[in-house]
Amino acid sequence: MKLLKKVMIKTFPVLTGYLVLGMGFGILMIKNEFGILAIVAMSLFIYAGSMQYVGITLLTAGAGVFQTALTTLMVNARHLFYGISMVEKYRETGIYKPYLIFALTDETYSLVCNEEKGEDSKTYFFLVSLCNHFYWVAGSLIGGVLGNMITFDTTGIEFSMTALFLTVFVEQWLGTKQHFPALSGLSCSVLCLFLFGKDKFLIPTMVLITVSLLINRKKYGELTKE
């Protein structure tokens, strides 16, 4: 029960963010004349926020299989990063493992990446992943059903996701004396954003971050050892 309470509190920011972003997705799909089934199928099986928004464009523009695969690869390449950094943490998660990997979104990652391995961390990882997945599907379903009936002005509520990542960033910053990885991430991202533009900067950023972390491995590798 204590664990469930912790999961509820931890995932609450994602609940608000996913309901709103999910609803936005559902509404957009309905406006583009897709059915409820397509909405639920995409949220259930793709389960990647920004990709699903891009997906609407691909579907309506009549993109081909190759273009769709390539776009998905570009937009979602950052998930490789999450995998690499969770290989150890998710190692002994048993039957939960396939689902945990499938459901590793940006937001779920932000909630599990700092969790210390403990007695019930396996169940914690699972419940966080499941709750977030549920919020996302529920949000898009509500959006699909309500369509254009929503009158409440929700403009700007998507900032809750930015705010979530910011709080995690601050928590991480306060939790370590070693700020090189955070600063490297920040400077590489900003540099690449200016060099490559907002639609193409993620992949170069990931390469640059990896290189800078590897170059400094000797210096910081020792310090990060347990």
Binding site: A38, R78, P181, L214
Partner: protein, 113 residues
């Protein structure tokens, strides 16, 4: 055709998520370098995600990124002060919504500016 494309998106996304776990599966010991990256990457990635969320800011045109900057500063300050994720997020989002839904355009049109 459309359902095929949905399948393609789902499969490619899942592949990206599963690939690292397939390469470094339970049978082999994870190489030192991956263990190292696993420890330092979360810090870099969170910075990258913050920049990713703020990528649409336009500094040269109205509203000059003011809503994003003010709301982000609010989140950081409140979080440093209270260390409560929920409070920080709710407050920051409220600040952003108020600014973007009109408060800012009123401020930007004040005669003194």
């Amino acid at each position: 055709m459309k359902s095929i494309l949905i399948v393609v998106m789902a499969v490619v996304t899942a592949l990206l998520r599963f690939l690292p776990f397939l390469i470094w599966n339970g049978k082999r010991k994870t190489p030192e370098v991956i263990v190292y990256l696993g420890k330092v990457l979360p810090y870099s990635i969170m910075a990258m995600l913050v920049v990713y969320c703020l990528k649409d800011i336009t500094f040269l045109r109205k509203p000059f990124g003011i809503p994003e900057i003010l709301a982000s500063v609010a989140v950081i300050l409140v979080h440093l002060w209270k260390r409560n994720t929920l409070i920080s997020i709710i407050l920051g989002t409220a600040v952003y919504m108020i600014l973007i839904q009109g408060a800012l355009s009123i401020i930007l049109h004040l005669p003194i500016l």
